[in-house]
């Protein structure tokens, strides 16, 4: 085993460079191909539009990355996104307190805080199920996925909250700021993604918690015996994933100025795909924010490009699937040989 490792690190080969930077090269290739095929692709305005679409998947996939680094999976983020959108929508429409005979219209900042809190709470439920009740992450989050979706449908009776702009008189305007406004010409949603990505990156590379996360994902037993609070780490990653799903839900509802209970269906799969394309190992302990961001942009830019050159949406699905399979294949080439120990 040591012989193969040595041989690997000896030569600096092109194949190895391509393998390690595969998500980056894939993104370059996608941009090059579509710029060639369509004059509308390689423009600043198109990149900004595409990026604001990527933002939602990107925010979800950072939460997903944390969970996958821990060796888990979170299937509930799409549903949490919808639930949180609906919760925010309900608050924007006014919360009726029958016993007091009043309708409360909380200001937008309160809506945002409460919505994120709801997402974090649902995420924490995932974490407790996994860490304390030893429910396998796949099953726990699958259950929560259904429950959250069901609650969202119940809250709205299956309908969609439209017109979330609020009104001047009620003092709750500004909800659409998140989805429509720009700072220095950049959509707010992209800035939110950048801030989330930078914070997550710092946490992973520079904080004690990040090291705990990599260690407990790589070998939970060894981490525990080294004094790592493995349960706390678990609950935290699911909580953060839930909170980020709420943020994504807010961004989406704001972009659409409406919140429906069926929003975000299958988004969890896109987020998983972004993490995998970014080179993270589904077994935990390997991966990073940079890769995951590249993965999210690969998926987003690919599907946007296919739309722009007029490929049917059925073909888009086929292409996305092919990219995911290819990415996993590359991951197993990169980790498969070195990963196994005698």
């Amino acid at each position: 085993m040591s012989a193969t490792t040595a041989a690997k690190s000896d030569g600096f080969s092109l194949g190895r460079l391509l393998l390690e930077g595969r998500a980056f090269f894939a993104l370059i290739a996608i941009i090059a191909v579509f710029s060639f095929l369509s004059p509308n692709y390689f423009t600043v305005s198109n990149f900004l539009i595409m990026s604001s679409q990527v933002a939602i998947y990107g925010i979800l996939s950072i939460g997903m990355l944390l969970v996958i680094l821990n060796g888990g999976i979170d299937l509930s983020v799409g549903s949490i996104l919808a639930l949180c959108g609906v919760v925010a929508g309900a608050m924007m429409q006014g919360v009726t307190l029958e016993w007091a005979g009043v309708i409360l219209y909380p200001p937008v900042w309160a809506v945002v805080v409460l919505t994120v809190a709801v997402g974090a709470l649902v995420g924490a439920l995932n974490g407790v199920l996994v860490a304390f009740f030893k429910v396998p992450p796949f099953v726990a989050t699958l259950g929560v996925m259904y429950v959250a979706r069901g609650v969202a449908l119940l809250m709205t009776n299956g309908l969609t909250y439209n017109n979330l702009r609020g009104s001047e008189a009620l003092g709750n305007t500004g909800f659409n700021w998140l989805g429509f406004n720009r700072l220095w010409g950049i959509p707010i949603s992209v800035i939110v993604l950048a801030v989330v990505a930078i914070l997550a990156g710092l946490m992973l590379s520079r904080s004690a918690f990040g090291r705990w996360l990599y260690a407990s994902g790589g070998n939970e037993r060894a981490a525990e015996l080294s004094g790592v609070p493995v349960r706390l780490v678990k609950i935290t990653v699911y909580t953060v994933s839930g909170a980020l799903a709420a943020v994504a839900g807010l961004v989406l509802a704001s972009q659409l100025t409406s919140a429906g209970p069926t929003a975000g269906t299958t988004y969890e799969l896109t987020a998983i795909a972004a993490v995998v394309i970014g080179g993270a190992a589904l077994t935990g302990g390997r991966g990073g924010v940079r890769g995951t961001m590249l993965g999210a942009f690969v998926i987003g830019f690919l599907s946007a490009g296919l739309v722009i050159i007029g490929v049917s949406s059925y073909w888009q699905t086929v292409f996305t699937g092919a990219v995911i399979v290819l990415a996993v294949l590359m991951n197993s080439i990169q980790y498969g040989r070195g990963g196994r120990k005698s």
Partner: protein, 510 residues
């Protein structure tokens, strides 16, 4: 060395022979040229400590791996097996220490797994069942072919494994530690089966750590040490002393107890009991005091409760009764992390499973248990971490390309030093090491024990466990022998190997 290779100690026909068989993994020589014969209808036992090369040799004989050099001769013909299946087709079967049965399937389905008898309507279950009944009659065991394996006692499961080997007409049966999990009565049954098999001309290769038990059944003994065969002789010429002498060797220096000042009691275990999942006590009402600067060795066989004792002290397992007192403070209710913070560290037995994070670098593994020491506010300090890693690499003498090297690039001995270095970096007052020498070569062993002696000189209380008697008589001031969850004897460092083995239950005749 005292190699007593005699031509033909017995008149019985040689069915399988190893000639100069050697096996290397890179620079690690697991087996360095071994010669011996297996005779028809007789039992040949392989003796040797952990890491002596027994399992490598068995894997070669059963076709699981191929030797780097040397020959295997079956019925006078040199053979080379491409796989374990090919060896099985030629009549060589192996029964591993961990049984390879599917617990949810019936005895019948297990025995015919992968080579089901086909009938016109799929599998011919009736024929399979009939054959299993015949086999069980032959083995004189009353096991119903339709019982799920999980409902059988361990001894019976072993019989099922043997039946499976016999069902493919094995002439040579290799058994790895077949008695380690059996009760005394089950051992009796197994030995009767072995005698019946040999009477029918089946040759048995037997591996066991229970020396005296093995002596009651064997016809020939092969002793391995560090990949070399140190002795080969028929039963009539050997006794327990002979085996131990050849297993352990005379010039086997792992240091001597350091003349450290032994101060106050650092760790005190009082009346500790640890139950397993079924409520049976693995550690029973055990008390032990260890002083600062003292090195205590815990010797015992597999299943004596050493690992459970150490893991309970470290906080991995929960005790059902008793106290663990660290420097005057009861710590039973604390978490693993809190115990580490108070100065109690464990180096676990299985470094791959419990000691190392394979996805991280050498440096990250070394610093894992002391991240708080180089965290400034929210973030870790890279400079402080690098200093800690460099200090650790130097103090435990890890041979590595640097802190950034992948942990998998190190040899077993250096990986073990990383695990020890990781726990020493937490600046413990008491360190527990569960089989610190397992699976590492003799040079690395000596270095590990030198580290322990060095720690004791600086006032560290050290407890290490071992199943190799030679390692008791190295740096330990005191040797505690565990047997079935209790301390069966306590010795100072002048004791003999034979006395230690006797107290462990190793020489209790079956």
């Amino acid at each position: 060395m005292s190699a007593q290779t005699q031509g033909a100690p017995d008149a019985a026909e040689v069915v399988l022979a190893a000639r100069n068989v050697a096996k290397s993994y890179g620079n690690v020589h697991a087996l360095k040229g071994v010669n011996f014969d297996i005779h028809r209808g007789q039992v040949t036992t392989l003796f040797g400590e952990n890491g002596a090369g027994k399992s490598t040799l068995m894997k070669i004989l059963s076709g699981v791996i191929r030797p780097t050099s040397g020959q295997i001769i079956l019925d006078g013909q040199p053979v080379s097996f491409a796989s374990a299946n090919e060896a099985r087709d030629r009549g060589i079967s192996i029964i591993h220490q961990e049984l390879s049965l599917a617990p949810n399937l019936s005895v019948r389905d297990n025995i015919f797994m992968g080579r089901e008898i086909r009938g016109p309507l799929g599998v011919d279950f009736a024929e399979e069942e009939r054959q299993v009944r015949l086999l069980m009659e032959e083995l004189e065991e009353e096991i119903d072919p339709l019982t799920p394996v999980e409902e059988l006692r361990l001894g019976q499961q072993q019989i099922v494994e043997i039946a499976r080997a016999l069902s493919v007409d094995s002439r040579i049966l290799i058994m790895d530690e077949p008695t380690s999990a059996l009760s005394a009565s089950e051992v009796e049954v197994l030995f009767k089966v072995i005698r019946d098999l040999t009477a029918k001309g089946v040759s048995i290769v037997y591996i066991s750590h229970h020396l005296e038990e093995a002596l009651t059944i064997t016809d020939h003994a092969v002793v391995l040490r560090d990949g070399t065969m140190t002795a080969y002789a028929p039963r009539a010429e050997i006794d327990l002393d002979w085996i131990v002498r050849n297993m352990v060797g005379e010039n086997y220096d792992l240091g001597s107890p350091p003349d450290s000042a032994r101060r106050g009691i650092a760790l005190s275990i009082r009346g500790l009991s640890v139950p397993d999942a079924t409520g049976k006590d693995l550690v029973r009402d055990l008390s032990l005091d260890v002083r600062a600067g003292e090195i205590v060795c815990i010797y015992g066989l597999m299943g004596a409760g050493r690992t459970e004792l150490l893991e309970t002290c470290a906080g991995r397992l929960r005790a059902s009764a008793g106290e663990i007192v660290l420097e005057g403070q009861e710590i039973s209710h604390l978490s693993i992390a809190e115990r580490i913070a108070r100065g109690l560290a464990l180096v676990p037995e299985d470094r791959q499973r419990d000691g190392l994070v394979q996805t991280m670098s050498v440096g990250q593994n070394l610093s894992l248990a002391s991240i708080r020491d180089f965290t400034r506010g929210l973030f870790t300090s890279r400079r402080a971490e690098r200093k800690l890693i460099e200090d650790s690499i130097r103090s435990v003498t890890v041979k590595t390309a640097g802190g950034a090297a992948p942990i998998g690039s190190l040899s077993g001995g250096n990986q073990q030093k990383v695990v020890i270095g990781k726990m020493l970096a937490t600046k413990p007052r008491v360190i527990l090491l569960d089989e610190p020498s397992r699976g590492i070569d003799i040079g690395a062993k000596a270095e590990v024990f030198r580290l322990l002696a060095e720690g004791a000189r600086q006032g560290l209380a050290v407890i290490y466990s071992t199943s190799e008697v030679g390692e008791c008589l190295s740096v330990a001031h005191r040797i505690v022998v565990m047997h079935k969850g209790r301390i069966s004897a306590e010795f100072d460092s002048t004791v003999t190997k034979e006395k230690i083995m006797a107290a462990s239950g190793e020489s209790v005749a079956a």
